[in-house]
Symmetry: C2
Subunit: 286 residues, 2 copies
């Protein structure tokens, strides 16, 4: 089996590690615009050798883990270079624009639009680890547009890795993911900003902040290179979630100002049911 | 040594466990308005026996871990009942009102105003565990108002548990803690609310939400009984932090609407320095 990983960072690198564990005989070829990352991936034995798009013609499987703005321009070229038996899977956090971009591509049937609900706030080859995908959800969009034989090949790998599969259309994906992922990142970034602006003395933040703050602000460590194009491609949905979030915060603030602490309590009690919801979310164990 | 724990939940119960480990000979007496909690604490061997305020006269040390609205009314009564050698320490998340409330109390010198930066989103005796306080910060307010001998007794215990001590005035405490703790809780509760309102189908939240959402929304599991009076007592500071947070979110939303993704990127890059700040925060390991 010949597998090409385009983008050898956290997402691509972790996929390579899981596949190598399942198929030790597979040849894993890395493609990345950063030669530093490629060398790092080689050293960490994430890939067996460096490659380029000429390797795609004979690849069984191509997994693309690159920022979504680059994905939009690279995906057509990747499909151009792919062979008839090659299945190309992306891992982009947005799906509408990406699916549109290749909807009329002559090799559309070689593409499977994917979004693994897996990741950490870190990036680069050194952040990759075995098991990132285990127990996580793989969202697949427009599955009917992928050739049946290639669907089978991709699904077999996802199942062997231990992923749960969910099918969805790209518009629904982008709308829901804005709430459960994109909004969390913005709320965390802006929390970090608000605290940093106020607490000029960083020593005070250490001393007074507990694990609650650490948890809530964790996503503010995420890569701006990765997240800026996500917000750009999912602009309408992200703005909608932000407006609702700001509205909820404003209402809560007004309840406090009005000394209406009965309703402050009620707002929190109603939200406590998140406990039950969170029980269903698989955690990342490294 | 005779130690009375008033409020045998996460905070009081964990303190009892740490003290018992250091001083196995100490008698730990539990006082709580909930007899269910007291029985649970007995069963879990967090306390040696149940007690009441008549035990305070001969106690060496009293640790009060109850919601701040109850603390404000109970603390004067607790001091009334305490003996000359008793040091009474609270664990309230607000400090200004509590210090004001007892500022003219004839036994003010028996009181040490404390706020341990330690906790989890869980509550009750079953949530208590050994080691919650180790490596964490204990903030002490108006230390000069506590009798020197009693200061020494309290500090010795905190140091033996492995806590870092920081001194602060009550106003500064309430102002800073609004940023690094109270705001995190509200941002998390309102994130949970926004997502729950939108995602009527809870199954969709499980399937699409990853560990990032889980982390950001974790504090929305916290107890409304505990947090409502905190927001009430720290109203002015909490409203101020909320206004700044809402302003930052509104600015970020406007940058997206204006397609100013260069500044969207810059906002996130500037906030990435939270990485360095977070390195100094001790995590809760259970």
């Amino acid at each position: 089996m010949k597998i090409v990983i385009i983008g050898v960072g956290l997402i691509g690198g972790s996929f390579a590690k899981d596949v190598k564990k399942l198929h030790p005989e597979a040849e894993i070829i890395g493609v990345d615009k950063s030669d530093v990352h490629l060398n790092e991936a080689l050293e960490l034995q994430i890939i067996d050798r460096k490659g380029d798009y000429t390797d795609l013609e004979t690849a069984d499987m191509v997994y693309v883990g690159i920022p979504v703005n680059v994905l939009v321009t690279e995906l057509p070229k990747i499909l151009d270079a792919s062979g008839d038996e090659t299945v190309v899977m992306d891992a982009g956090s947005t799906k509408r624009l990406i699916c549109e971009q290749v909807s009329d591509h002559p090799k559309r049937r070689n593409f499977m639009a994917c979004h693994p609900i897996a990741g950490t706030e870190f990036s680069g080859p050194a952040a990759a680890f075995e098991g990132l995908y285990t127990g996580k959800t793989m969202i697949i969009c427009e599955v009917e547009k992928t050739a049946f034989k290639l669907q089978e090949k991709a699904l077999a790998i996802f199942q062997d890795i231990g992923m749960r599969i969910r099918y969805m259309n790209p518009e629904a994906h982008d709308k829901h993911i804005a709430y459960v992922s994109h909004l969390s990142h913005i709320s965390s970034f802006m929390l970090g900003k608000t605290v940093i602006e106020k607490e000029k003395n960083e020593r005070d933040i250490f001393d007074m902040a507990g694990s609650g703050f650490e948890s809530t602000v964790r996503l503010a460590k995420s890569s701006p290179d990765m997240w800026t194009p996500i917000f750009e491609q999912n602009k309408d949905n992200v703005v909608e979630t932000l407006e609702e979030y700001i509205q909820n915060l404003t209402t809560f603030k007004q309840l406090i100002l009005d000394n209406d602490f009965e309703n402050v309590h009620l707002e929190m009690s109603n939200t406590n049911k998140i406990k039950q919801i969170l029980k269903g979310i698989p955690l990342t164990k490294k």
